[in-house]
């Protein structure tokens, strides 16, 4: 019995040891150890030597915050650096690598070089498998000195994420227009186009940014050994300092029921000053206001119309610029309008009699949106309200039977109206 117990005890102990060893191996396998070596200064400037250790220290400190990797303490690397002297050339060979492996017990070496000037430094970061001397992943970062550390840390973070797992996929991002800044999970990784960029499998938030264009963002699932592609088209922002010419047509809906809703044709030229837009506009409309009355036993319909020409100055504020398809705006305007009253009369050579002419001050407000922005063109829709402080006199004709000609009955009203319509804008 005791012997049996001893046998079981030995087996259980062996099992526990195996589990511990396997668990440790698993932990070790999922958390590779990275040693960050000094970077090689290829700038030719002694004054930038400090970046060699400063960048490495910064990256090392950043990576040490990750739970997915273990970072070799930099103070333990001095002997390796001295003996291997990788940083002098940025080159390495299997002998150096295997020596580094023995001395650091690291799985991956992070090393690289930098060149350029403080205003434009290019940093190359490589992750080298310490067993095979193969480059597992690499990134090129170009930045001003003031941004170099942030960019380098971001790039090293992505490299570390890639090398810490075997579940890696690839991402390709090409944008229209080119040279958009690309952010992955909040870290800038470069400019478009981004080709076959290695990423750990899983969901990643991709964002593309370019000055003068509206940002775009997407969440993509990267599969192990899979490829994902994203080709966003960034619309231009409407807050650029640029000029525009627009033509449009709206339905003019008068407040006076005697006037018939009619089309009004508009053409405007203006300029954007960031979110403010100033423009001048000319408009024309033929507004029918036919009159029907009884005359000598029959119903007479007189063709009557206004020819309305307007000149207005507009000030518009762009309310919101963050939407891709719609850019809403609101504004006010004031200007001059000439309203000429005509009626058909066969006694006149051209068959039309000019009755009255009014010079009007018009004031109003407008609310609209630019939509479907495509390149230098966009459509717009908008509504307006026009108010005219001056009263307009309209002659209403009445029959006096067989006692003679028609008599006029003067009526006064305000030429207020609403317009609803849209058109096309061209930017230049």
């Amino acid at each position: 019995m005791r012997r049996l117990i001893n046998v079981y005890f030995k087996r259980i102990t062996l099992l526990v040891i195996c589990i511990i060893i396997a668990g440790g191996y698993a932990v070790a396998a999922s958390s590779p150890t990275i040693a960050v070596l000094n970077f090689t200064n290829n700038t030719g400037s002694k004054g930038m030597d400090y970046l060699s250790t400063a960048l490495a220290d910064s990256i090392s400190a950043t990576l040490s915050q990750s739970e997915d990797i273990q970072v070799v303490e930099r103070s333990r690397l001095s002997s390796v650096i001295n003996q291997v002297e990788l940083e002098k050339s940025g080159m390495f060979n299997k002998t150096d690598i295997s020596r580094a492996e023995r001395m650091t017990n690291a799985d991956v070496l992070l090393l690289g070089s930098y060149t350029g000037t403080p205003s434009n430094i290019t940093l190359i970061i490589k992750a080298v498998d310490i067993k095979t001397a193969l480059v597992l992943n690499g990134r090129v970062v170009t930045a001003h000195l003031s941004e170099l550390f942030d960019r380098a840390n971001q790039a090293a973070g992505i490299i570390a994420a890639v090398v810490s797992t075997k579940d890696v996929g690839r991402l390709t991002v090409s944008t229209s227009p080119d040279e958009c800044d690309i952010y992955i999970d909040g870290m800038m990784v470069g400019q478009s186009p981004l080709i076959e960029y290695k990423l750990p499998a899983g969901e990643h938030r991709i964002r593309v940014v370019k000055k003068g264009y509206i940002d775009d963002e997407v969440t993509l699932a990267i599969r192990t050994n899979g490829s994902a592609t994203w080709n966003p088209v960034l619309p231009e922002k409407q807050v650029l300092n640029r000029s525009e010419f627009s033509v449009g047509v709206s339905a003019l809906i008068p407040a006076n029921n005697d006037l018939t809703p009619s089309p009004v044709f508009l053409a405007a030229i203006g300029h954007n000053f960031d979110r403010w837009h100033i423009s001048g506009e000319i408009g024309f409309s033929r507004i029918s206001h036919d009159q029907v009355f009884e005359h000598l036993g029959s119903e007479v319909e007189q063709d009557r119309w206004y020819n309305y020409t307007s000149l207005n100055g507009h000030i518009v504020y762009i309310l919101y610029t963050g939407w891709k398809l719609v850019t809403p705006y609101a504004g006010v305007f004031a200007g001059y309008g000439k309203l000429v009253d005509y009626r058909s009369n066969e006694a006149y050579e051209d068959g039309e009699e000019k009755l009255r002419s009014h010079n009007l001050l018009s004031l109003g407000g407008r609310l609209g949106a630019n939509i479907l922005n495509f390149g230098k063109f966009s459509l717009y829709i908008e509504g307006r309200y026009y108010y005219t402080p001056t009263l307009v006199t309209r002659d209403e004709y009445q029959s006096q039977g067989v006692l003679g000609g028609l008599v006029k009955n003067e009526q006064e009203y305000r030429f207020n109206y609403v317009t609803l319509g849209g058109g096309l804008k061209y930017y230049f």
Binding site: L296, V300, G401, V402, L403, G404
Partner: protein, 153 residues
């Protein structure tokens, strides 16, 4: 010198004659039209039975009016409505374009300012009559002079 003066006389005479010929003068036997700012309608005749007149193009409604006294107007309005005895117009029974028989005259109704086709007018007397016309938009565009005739029914 005399010859020059004679030539000048002849020239002046020719000038005056040409001016007179070019003037749109109203013939002596025609009176002025009864309304302002209208074109003339030519009256043909009243032969004791029918009133005849020309109807110009563009006139869609013609009115023949018969008055007890001379027709008084201001602008395009008849002032002496009380003298309006009767008449006929386009659209009423008995009206033929350019012609109205005296038997087709109707009484004037001040309420409707139109003729009443249910009441024939047949009182003998001396009357002033004229014709005027409207276009399709109701505008008064044409009128005649007024003439005096005795009408016996």
């Amino acid at each position: 010198m005399k010859r020059i003066i004679s030539i000048l006389h002849i020239a002046v005479l020719l000038f005056v004659v040409s001016i007179c010929m070019s003037c749109d003068v109203v013939p002596e036997d025609q009176g002025p039209v009864i309304f302002d700012d209208v074109e003339r309608i030519e009256l043909d005749d009243y032969d004791g039975t029918r009133f005849t007149f020309d109807v110009p193009n563009g006139v869609s409604t013609v009115v023949l009016g018969v008055f007890h006294n001379t027709i008084q107007t201001q602008g395009q309005t008849i002032l002496n409505e009380v003298d309006f005895a009767g008449g006929n117009r386009t659209g009423l029974p008995g009206y033929v374009k350019g012609e109205v028989n005296k038997s087709a005259l109707y009484e004037y109704d001040p309420g409707t300012k139109d003729f009443d086709p249910t009441l024939s007018y047949n009182t003998n007397g001396s009357y002033w009559w004229a014709v005027w016309g409207y276009d399709s938009d109701g505008n008064l565009t044409h009128a005649s002079e007024q003439v005096n005739d005795t009408i016996n029914f």
